[in-house]
Symmetry: C2
Subunit: 259 residues, 2 copies
């Protein structure tokens, strides 16, 4: 495997830092190639603005159009070009981050906002009576697999089917489906570490063993069975799931998972 690890935590000597280090050593020991985007260490610029699109950005700025034009012209900033190149190099992408306010830290959202430009991650492919662009199962990053490794402060029951925070699968759906599956990446079930704030040194070896086990079985893990957009499950252009495809009683985000 060629694995890109995108890592977002301000403290190297943290649980997230340890899990990232363990991922690097475990994968390398198993003979895989690994590259790391350590967003804090890189001083990653989190904020989309006009300088991202060079001296030819339009005025007024139009984020989608300008990012697509800079992508086509090869004039995106070097930091963004480097991340796009890493994504094209990788066959596997691991994201390591703490869940802050039920989603990713701002620095990682800023990596998505800036790297996933128009014409690279969206605005790809043709629209017709049977296709609505290349996305949700097709796209620039098709053929790759991704895994979220997430630390969560609260205990697992709070994220269960009846838990007050909502089900973890639903909380992660906008990332899994909306960010990763959109440009074509297959998404593996996440590695979620609950109760991270209360984890002690004595508890860490079990966590490390579970994480190593996930890392060493990435290639044989089945991805989440998200439905592909252009292969008959959806009406076009409404992109409504066709009636009767889902098991009785299923609603919400889970409609977009097969079986």
């Amino acid at each position: 495997m060629k694995t890109l690890i995108v890592y977002a935590h301000p403290e190297p000597d943290s649980l997230n830092g340890s899990l990232k280090d363990l991922a690097v050593s475990t994968l390398e020991k198993a003979g895989h190639e690994v590259r790391v985007s350590d967003l804090y260490a890189m001083g990653w610029k989190a904020v989309v603005d006009a300088p991202d699109y060079g001296p030819h950005a339009s005025s007024p700025l139009q984020v989608a159009r300008d990012s697509g034009r800079a992508f086509d012209a090869g004039t995106l900033t070097p930091d963004v070009l480097a991340e796009q190149a890493k994504l094209l190099w990788a066959d596997t992408i691991v994201f390591q981050f703490p869940l802050w306010w039920y989603t990713m830290p701002a620095i990682l959202k800023g990596w998505v906002d800036r790297v996933f430009t128009y014409r690279f991650a969206y605005g790809v492919g043709e629209h017709s009576d049977t296709r609505y662009g290349e996305r949700f199962g097709e796209g620039t990053l098709a053929g790759r697999r991704a895994l979220l490794s997430v630390t969560v402060g609260g205990p697992e029951p709070h994220y269960g089917a009846r838990g007050i925070n909502g089900p973890i699968d639903d909380l992660l759906f906008p990332i899994h489906h909306g960010i990763l599956y959109y440009p074509g990446i297959e998404v593996l079930p996440p590695f979620v570490l609950y109760g991270a704030d209360r984890l002690t040194g004595a508890g860490y070896p079990d966590v490390a063993a579970a994480w190593e086990q996930r890392l060493l079985t990435l290639e044989s893990t089945e991805p989440i069975a998200f439905r592909r957009q252009n292969f008959g499950d959806y009406e076009i252009p409404s992109l409504h799931l066709k009636r009767g495809l889902e098991p009785a009683g299923r609603t919400g985000f889970a409609l977009h998972v097969r079986g």
Copy 2:
């Protein structure tokens, strides 16, 4: 009303900029006080790091603990203190932003990550057999109301009950419930402008009229009926919704809305 508008778009001459300007003029004309946090114009720092917590940040950095200590000591950075003061001043908070990758832009997530510190927005209140801290209906920001005004590129059907992106209420739930209701803010139904990328000058007056109408009825709008945590609906400490409270067949995020 005392309204704080938190606005996140890089281009003043944008649809989001126009909707923000219209909110200011409409509310002021109606006799309300308005303050604006224009995150791009302020050069808002989006990224949580050790300097946020001053020279006494612990090493290794512990984000929750250090942010709570700095909050208690009054040593948070001036930019964060100013935003916390604005939130305490306001009775109404309007967020104006484009939906980027199914959630808020990084600069706004960074406003949440840095302003919603421990002891201010979380880590508030006592834990006992009947209470699990002051959150979800109680907390520092109780008594306030918030509204998301969101522009969305895609058309409305894509965000419907069977739409490929998932229902808009579910996409916004982690913000509505997880970020705003958590520290006690009541949340009004959002103002969502679909098809924003295709909006023409000819279409704008209708949008402006609808937005003005929402702004002028903020005080009489019923908030989303999220369930309060400590008033009998949840088991403590599992925070599972008690059996039988929901209408038959309701699941997922919607469990946490009454009626």
